[in-house]
């Protein structure tokens, strides 16, 4: 009886300390979500302006041309950029991304294309390595707090591969699987085609855009703008994924804390019962003993 009591006390102690840790992690994640959201907001002016400039450029120069805008029908390989996190403790965050990526890969295969994964984040890298699957390139070490240089590196590599032909290991199109931060409670895995770029001509509100002069030339401006645009898109996706990751951590840690607290309730009740039982037994033993003594004394 006493052994059971001791064991329950030990269990309660363990669960309590686990709850403390998960609670702390939950709070850390909560504060990081705010930071990640701020990073998303801070990157918005650049993203908006570059889109504006690109729209202006494309809708005003009929006949401008750039390889990044081209479909490459001869290239049969499709790049799939999969954005996962470096750390775990985030519930189904990475599993969801990988599941979506795998179904995209299957769909691409069915279309007769050859999908090539490019993976961001340790969790995705491990997943592919464990299964012995070939990946074209991996990046890691910045999933929590991506900066633009990271996006630039990824963008450069993807653009390079896009411009190569199949025989040189190039790809004909680029898809991205990432997690969009919709709100604190909702994050959605998204699949987007990044390249060839689709630039819609003219803007929605029917506003007449001015006719631009180009310095030094339209081609030079386009050469600079398009890769920058790609990098800014990737940066946006990295930031969105980072914010989603923190939200997933928060949710996972919250439910872990809740579970620990439930468990604590159950164990406490069991312990109280055990203690009560022990006391009752002791009393009945004393009473039994006293009775026996009284009986033997009476004789």
């Amino acid at each position: 009886m006493a052994a059971q009591l001791r064991q329950l006390r030990q269990q309660i102690k363990t669960v309590k300390s686990t709850a403390k840790i998960t609670r702390a992690q939950e709070m850390i994640a909560t504060s990081r979500i705010v930071k990640a959201q701020q990073a998303v907001a801070a990157s918005k002016p650049y993203a908006d302006r570059i889109t504006q400039a690109l729209t202006a450029l494309v809708s005003h120069r009929v006949g401008i041309d750039h390889p990044l805008l081209h479909e490459q029908p001869t290239d049969n390989r499709s790049a799939v950029l999969i954005i996962t996190s470096d750390r775990g403790f985030c519930g189904a965050y990475n599993a969801n991304v990988i599941r979506e990526a795998e179904s995209l890969i299957t769909a691409l295969r069915e279309q007769g294309r050859e999908p090539v994964p490019y993976v961001v984040g340790n969790k995705g890298i491990t997943w592919y390595r464990f299964r012995g699957r070939e990946v074209a390139e991996t990046w890691h070490g910045f999933s929590d707090r991506p900066d633009f240089a990271n996006a630039e590196r990824i963008g450069r590599r993807l653009t390079e591969d896009f411009l190569k032909t199949d025989a040189e290991g190039g790809v004909g199109e680029i898809h991205v699987v990432y997690t969009e931060f919709v709100s604190m409670l909702t994050q959605k895995v998204q699949v987007r085609r990044l390249m060839p770029l689709e630039v819609t001509e003219g803007d929605g509100d029917g506003q007449v855009l001015p006719t631009y002069e180009f310095e030094p030339s339209a081609q030079a401006a386009l050469d600079l703008l398009l890769p920058n645009y790609v990098e800014s898109r990737i940066f946006h996706m990295l930031l969105q994924s980072a914010a989603s990751f923190q939200a997933s951590v928060r949710r996972a840690m919250k439910s872990a804390t809740d579970n620990a607290n439930d468990l604590l309730g159950v164990y406490t009740r069991q312990m109280n019962q055990a203690r009560q039982a022990a006391i009752t037994q002791e009393i009945s033993e004393i009473v039994g003993g006293a009775d026996a003594l009284a009986e033997s004394g009476g004789e």
């Binding site: 801070a42 650049y46 302006r49 001015p210 002069e213 310095e215 401006a221 600079l224």
Partner: protein
Amino acid sequence: MATLKVGLVSPEREIWSGEAKTVVAQTIEGSLGILPGHAPVLGVLLDGSVVTIEPADGGERVSAMVGSGFFSVAGDEVAILAEQAEMGEEIDVQHARQALEDAMAAGDDDATPERRARARLRAAGIEV
């Protein structure tokens, strides 16, 4: 008097925004001064140059170092987008000097690091 609405942004944040009298930027082909009423232009910035903005409220001129990027002018709105951008007053001069020395010592064919380092010092108000 008409003023320019200026936004100097890097991918990570907005570096400077506000009203300005003039903006001077450097393109590959030379310096370009922008006053209110300028014709719409989309220009490529010289990687490692200085953008100077004269605020409309009569404040002191602000300088910023910019890396690869471009600027667009349309209807008195000026947007300067640079992958690397730093305000002159935020630049760590000692660090920039070190970077310049390193770049010169490296002696690469690529002059970009050296030009960027020089631009950082110039933006911080130090002639080199």
